[in-house]
């Protein structure tokens, strides 16, 4: 970060300034003139928080995608199907057991197992054939989507959050000040805050795993040069299996999360596949911090766009992607290779 700052002082200044303005907008109570030009502060805050939460969900989906891509050069276009599968399984399990928390480990293990089968039976057979892998995963996603449509039908499902997470919680952020001088604090659904917190914890956990453990060292080495890693005696196929399982499992968990605060229906798989594609393209292929930043940008732009320019909110996302591609094809944090 310090290197970036010394190399691009102007950009650093602009980014820091933008962040400062954003934070100031969030924490300061808005004066009536500001409310006139920018609209109600509550709406703005909701858009920001919605965007950050959506970004957290996108991060969960995309980090697995980018990890798998970074290490194995596999483009798993069936990633969205894994997300939807995880969501449906989470719905079934939470209906069966009645517990929300227990679905997470179960779904993680099941979807990770699916991922292991995928890696072992599909990707390993066509190692190095990018195009064929991509096509096979497209075929798989078509088949999986139809199988899921067959079993779960076309209606949408919502996974219910447990009681202790339902309802709003009050955040120490001023939403507005009434004429009487009474301060109104922002109230926001507790389950979304929990999701946000969980995504941050998972992100930090992944960073620690990658940067502080032996396995993480192997993975990072594999991202840089897998042949050399294999040549130095590491059983790279096991690492591939582990990473693929982890990425798939994350997609499954993200399915539960998405099913809790949005809904699950056919078509969500392509939606999240596209979202993770865009996030990963914006953030940079194979970079976890890149996925985090990309997810945040996309989530925020989607929600802010939805509030302030509802017609073209979806287009903003792709506009950002096109801009990034045009000026920095490897993504914001991607390394040019």
């Amino acid at each position: 970060m310090a290197r970036f700052a010394s190399r691009h002082p102007v950009w650093t200044f602009i980014i820091v300034l933008g962040l400062a303005v954003l934070l100031w907008l969030i924490f300061t109570p808005w004066s009536p003139q500001m409310e006139e030009t920018l609209g109600r502060k509550r709406i703005f805050l909701n858009a920001i928080f919605g965007g950050v939460t959506l970004g957290a969900l996108y991060f969960l989906v995309a980090s697995g995608f980018t990890l798998i891509f970074g290490l194995m050069r596999n483009v798993n276009l069936a990633h969205g199907s894994l997300y939807l599968l995880g969501g449906y399984l989470g719905f079934e399990i939470s209906e069966f057991t009645g517990s929300w928390l227990i679905t997470f480990p179960i779904v993680f293990i099941i979807v990770a197992a699916v991922g292991i089968v995928l890696q072992h039976q599909v990707f390993r057979r066509m190692d190095g054939e990018d195009l064929r892998q991509t096509m096979v995963t497209i075929g798989l996603s078509v088949v999986l989507a139809d199988l899921m449509l067959w079993y779960w039908g076309g209606q949408s499902y919502t996974i219910f959050a447990p009681d202790w997470l339902s309802g709003p919680m009050t955040l120490p952020i001023i939403s507005s000040i009434r004429d009487s001088g009474e301060i109104v604090y922002l109230r926001y659904p507790a389950v979304r805050m929990a999701i946000l917190l969980a995504a941050i914890v998972i992100g930090i956990g992944m960073w620690l795993l990658l940067n502080r453990t032996r396995l993480g060292m192997f993975v990072r080495a594999g991202v840089d040069d897998r042949e050399m890693l294999a040549a130095s005696g590491v059983r790279i196929q096991y690492i591939f299996l582990a990473v693929f399982a982890f990425g798939a499992g994350l997609a499954g968990i993200a399915g539960i999360v998405g099913g809790t605060f949005q809904s699950l229906s056919p078509g969500e798989d392509t939606r999240f596949l596209l979202a993770s594609l865009v996030v990963v393209i914006v953030g940079g292929m194979g970079s976890i911090p890149g996925a985090a930043i990309g997810a945040l940008i996309i989530g925020l732009s989607e929600q802010l766009g939805l509030v302030y320019a509802p017609t073209y909110s979806v287009v903003f996302t792709f506009l950002i992607m096109a801009l990034v591609l045009a000026f920095r094809p490897q993504g914001l944090l991607g390394s040019a290779r």
Binding site: L149, W150, I281, T311, Y312, V315, A322, P329
Partner: protein, 360 residues
């Protein structure tokens, strides 16, 4: 109408093929004759729905095949380019939405539609050639879905979710081109021209350079060729074919909506090109006819074996998977291998295949 059309087309076909008269194998003559006299035996449904659709999808898949097979760029934008042309026909020409359609004459809106779609495809290509391999797939897929969402949201130009209806071809030369038989010959003619154009370009210097760029861009750059310009030009050429296909598609359906270029449709074009075999132009049409026959008759077939007719996607997906798994070069690859094996058995001394390769 056949009387008007038939001589027209055969007169068109003979001079073109006279110069390499001997090079064309019997199979192609049989195919040409069969296609030309198809209306004598086939009913309207087969002509319009099966063959018309096959030729249209085949053309759009052909543009993908040209980029992927000769240029090494798997672009998923082709369906969006086609839909763009279709939209432009509806916007500049006539449609049921008279508020938005400008009602220009056909000799204005047809070239305009092709031009705009080509510019669109070329711009996307210019963005996509900055990337390679799988990245190209992802970026074109992302732009294609952006196009889909944009057309769905935009009501002032693209009329949003509903799109345009009652988009019909102009009545040229006193022929109603939406009648099954004229439409059959129209699509057949366009598909033939597109096919021959692709074959011609693939053997022209431009196509040879493009194939060189596909195989080794660095070496071609070292030889002094402008790699990026050739790739973008390939996108432009493919966009023209896709645009013509898109215009025919909107005429066949008589309507266009965002779903025409939805993500499923975009993927379908890839499926078609891959099923047929992405290495050769005819593969696009073989894939198209397999896809069309499957999608037209699969519901009946599935019902007859006791499954729900809605499982059509499962059938297509499984077929696609099987092809990609076992024969990456599609049906044509299977056919080649079968022929090579037979030829080997027939000629044990040389071990070479006796048949003389593929005809144009």
């Amino acid at each position: 109408m056949a009387v008007i059309e038939n001589p027209d087309r055969s007169a068109d076909a003979t001079p073109r093929s006279r110069s390499w008269y001997e090079g064309i194998s019997t199979g192609w003559w049989v195919l040409a004759a069969a296609l030309l006299f198809m209306p004598a035996v086939a009913n309207d449904f087969v002509l319009f729905q099966v063959f018309g659709w096959t030729f249209i999808l085949g053309m759009i898949a052909l543009s993908l095949m040209f980029l992927a097979g000769y240029g090494g760029m798997v672009s998923l934008i082709q369906m969006s380019v086609a839909a763009m042309a279709g939209y432009m026909v509806a916007i500049f020409g006539f449609s049921g939405i008279s508020d938005l359609s400008l009602g220009m004459p056909w000799w204005v809106y047809l070239p305009l539609a092709i031009l705009i779609a080509t510019i669109f495809g070329t711009l996307v290509g210019a963005l996509a050639v900055r990337t390679e391999g799988i990245y190209t797939i992802m970026i074109t897929l992302a732009i294609a879905s952006a196009f889909f969402y944009f057309t769905r949201q935009n009501y002032s130009i693209f009329n949003g979710y509903t799109g345009f209806n009652l988009v019909v071809p102009p009545e040229l030369f006193g022929v109603d081109w939406r009648q099954p038989m004229p439409f059959y010959y129209l699509t057949l003619g366009c598909a033939t021209i597109a096919y021959l154009a692709v074959v011609y370009v693939s053997r022209a210097p431009f196509g040879l350079v493009l194939q060189g760029v596909r195989d080794n861009p660095r070496r071609m750059a070292a030889l002094g060729y402008n790699v990026v310009a050739h790739r973008i030009a390939a996108y432009a050429f493919a966009s023209v074919i896709a645009a013509v296909g898109g215009i025919l598609l909107v005429w066949q359906n008589a309507q266009i909506a965002p779903g025409t270029a939805g993500i499923a449709a975009v993927i379908d074009i890839l499926v078609i090109a891959v099923i047929g075999g992405i290495g050769r132009p005819i593969g696009a049409f073989i894939g198209a006819i397999i896809y069309v026959v499957l999608s037209t008759f699969a519901p009946d077939f599935l019902l007859s074996i006791g499954m729900s007719g809605e499982r059509f996607n499962l059938l297509i997906g499984l077929g696609f998977l099987a092809i990609v798994f076992f024969s990456p070069d599609g049906i044509l690859g299977l056919w080649d291998r079968w022929r090579a094996r037979r030829a080997k058995r027939g000629d044990p001394l040389t071990g070479e295949s006796a048949s003389g390769g593929d005809a144009p």
